[in-house]
Symmetry: C2
Subunit: 474 residues, 2 copies
């Protein structure tokens, strides 16, 4: 060995050397820009560490190789899909291995009779939906990130979306998982049958655990038949509180649309500026609902909802006349977040409150924005009380950041005071750890730590996400 | 202290003395017959131990008192509801404390707007259903034991039922729990909001854990609006395999009834003998389905199902003409198990297989019955592949018991070979521990043990149910 070789070897983190030795050619990412791009999700202001190595696995055995190497070296492993997370759950830790799963992107099986699909974790949500639609089937969970986010990431955050107000969240559709465990074993959890209670619900425990209890390498999801196109209703409101009252009134009337969304003028303007849709001139707040019951039921529900909208003070409320118009309105909703992000860093809230508390919470958010002199845009899965206040601050203005941070904390406290939760669907990651401490009792947090220690005894699986833990030696 | 007093004190187990001292008057059961009645569920041939004490709690604090006393004395605690379980999960262990929760039977709250109810664990399933029906609401999970079984027991076994083929199981309706933990603390898990991902799904972990990870003292369930009465279809078949083919054909045609049941002649005869319904003369196997889509959709589905029935060889298949007739058919289904039980001990199977494998599995069950020369009656939630072969043996005939036991093991092996699970809804308890060992890999069983040790470090919570563990010192 020459002196140069020796120096180079010394500069190579041992875990990187192990991965280079054991993984096939091309799996270890060495380009610094690519490494940096794979080191963070979309959570603004969450800390990002510097990984020792980044690996892009193509099969389960390679995931196992990475986890085992991390166990040998006592190095954390941070799994990631498309990096569309909003809580910092996939952010790198110093000295960690980032394990990208986006190249494991095959739909392995669709079984129309059992109505299930088996997919690798890197399959993009919309790709799965498109794939099963060929069989007349539907995978309902539809986070607004569905054109980009992966099923593995959706599972790890228990992603929600627009239609979960009627159809439930990711957890309700995952029936089987293959997982690489904290001890480096490959296990199968769950089943392929319609029902099953053989043992603890370890599958459910993995869903939403943000990669802290295992790394998902295969997912079996249940499917539904494609729903009818449905009827879309839109209403404009002068303020978010009256829009919230319309939602409460609709819910009290027993209406349960398949999607029930709120988009405010800040968001509409941002979408206009990007896509030139001309939406923002009409109203402060847009409510958007779709009924997919089919036939007369959807028509009747739409009429009833229009009555609720008008009763709550909507200045304009109508059914959309064409499928194209309906699609345009929903695409505006889906584009709201990326459109706003184009204008600068956005701190995304994700509180969820009881439906009855929606008007009160929306009013409090307005008051918080005024009190802290910051812009808070609002999009919301309002039909299930899941609000996404988007705090817009100038990243170069420390004062504005501080005010946004204070507003963020107040929104969390107010949501809890109204019987809500700090995160409806984005997960805890790094941004909501403090919120979790507020929401859960010390005894429940102790249960979390006990479960974490039981399933990840070496503490290598995304440590410090969801809640603080003692770091493994690195 | 006289000699007599001293002898009596020595004969009193220390944990019993502690409970007598700390619980209010009347909570500790001392009548030997009542104690015996509270020491077992309905699992035939599962071993039953002799408890040191039986307590009947009336509030959460008393449950906590019992768990803490058990922790102090290193004594197992076995919680029970109505004792309708079928796997031995609630059977007493020698020297344990049996903790009866049937007296905690209040519906604490019904919130029609949020569509949820909060109940104590001892509320009987049908009582909850009746209670929320007054608000036009519905709690779907409907085990055939619903007139007797409690919500706490339903939660602890993740009970299914007739309508879960369309509406899901208990797990899908539980959103919040109060639990006394293995360290004797009272914690709240879950939420009251429509969505929430704050931390691990510890709530899901408690559901179906059969009292081995915590004792449920309050349950928050989500509700749905009452569905329409619906349309009932019945069909008679000459054998279970052709009935199974009808189910597969209906599923392949995309039909998803709200209930889809199979009842065979053994069961119909037993119901006839008990209730004089005159059902058993017509057919070997009855298939029974209900569509509750409402209006034209239900009518169309019923017609399509009749075509599937006739195509699979049904000799008679019709829609029921009246609601009374439909109700009579479904009540026959619900009464099948208790009717058979009247005739002697019944060993109940609970395998669940993929829908495509239903005809094959039903055929194998017939062959197993013939091979072992025992009677196997069949009821099944056949629409989701959950079969309940009922093994009828003479308890006084050791040979017949042995043959039944051998048949039981073969049914388990065959279900696993066909991609199924050993228990669809009854739980593992004592009867299916061997089956669980067959179904789960050693690594997954190790994860179970790790989670158990994490949440019940003293090993006092129903130890040895679901899987074997080292007993606490007693």
């Amino acid at each position: 060995m020459t002196l140069t070789d020796s120096t180079r070897a010394a500069a190579t983190p041992p875990v990187l050397a192990t991965l280079l030795e054991r993984l096939p050619e091309g799996r270890v990412v060495t380009d610094p820009d690519v490494m940096a791009g794979l080191s963070a999700d979309q959570a603004v202001w969450a800390p990002v560490g510097r990984p020792a190595a980044v690996a892009r696995a193509r099969e389960t055995a390679e995931v196992q190789t990475v986890v085992r190497a991390c166990l040998e070296h006592g190095v954390p492993v941070v799994a990631r899909g498309a990096g569309t997370g909003l809580s910092g759950g996939a952010n790198a830790l110093d000295g960690c291995v980032v394990l990208a799963l986006d190249a494991m992107d095959e739909v392995l099986e669709v079984d129309p009779l059992e109505r299930l699909a088996v997919v690798q974790p890197g399959v993009v949500n919309d790709d799965l939906r498109g794939h099963v639609a060929e069989h007349g089937l539907w995978y309902p969970p539809d986070p607004a990130s569905s054109p980009w986010s992966t099923i593995g990431g959706n599972v790890s955050t228990n992603a929600g979306g627009l239609c979960c107000v009627k159809y439930g969240v990711t957890r309700d559709y995952v029936i089987g998982l293959e997982v690489v465990t904290g001890t480096g074993e490959v296990v199968r959890l769950g089943r392929r049958t319609a029902k099953g209670v053989a043992g603890y619900d370890l599958l459910g425990l993995m869903v939403g655990a943000e990669g802290t209890l295992g790394i998902v390498t295969e997912v079996t999801v249940r499917l539904r038949p494609l729903p009818p196109q449905g009827v879309t209703v839109a209403g404009y409101f002068d303020d978010s509180v009256s829009a919230g009252e319309a939602v409460r009134a609709a819910t009290a009337a027993g209406l349960r649309p398949a999607a029930f969304e709120l988009v405010d003028r800040h968001c509409l303007r941002a979408v206009d500026a990007w896509k030139n849709m001309g939406l923002a001139d009409e109203a402060d707040v847009l409510l958007l609902a779709r009924f997919d019951d089919g036939g007369a039921a959807a028509e009747a529900h739409a009429e009833e909802l229009l009555r609720c909208f008008r009763g709550a003070g909507s200045g304009w409320a109508e059914r959309s006349e064409t499928a194209e118009e309906a699609e345009m309105l929903f695409s505006a909703r889906r584009l709201a977040f990326p459109a706003l992000e184009r204008l600068g860093p956005v701190l995304t809230e994700d509180v969820c409150v009881p439906i009855a508390a929606v008007p009160e919470m929306l009013g409090r958010i307005d008051a918080i924005a005024a009190r802290h002199d910051i812009t808070i845009a609002n999009i919301a899965h309002v039909g299930d009380g899941n609000l996404h206040p988007l705090l817009v601050a100038d990243p170069d203005d420390a004062g504005s950041q501080e005010r946004a941070q204070a507003a963020f904390e107040e929104i969390i406290s107010d949501a809890l005071a109204l019987g809500g939760t700090v995160t409806g669907e984005h997960g805890v990651g790094l941004l909501k750890r403090h919120g979790l401490d507020q929401e859960l009792s010390p005894a429940v947090l102790a249960m979390h730590r006990a479960v974490k220690a039981a399933l990840d005894p070496a503490g290598v699986l995304n440590p410090g996400k969801v809640f603080e833990v003692a770091s493994p030696t690195i």
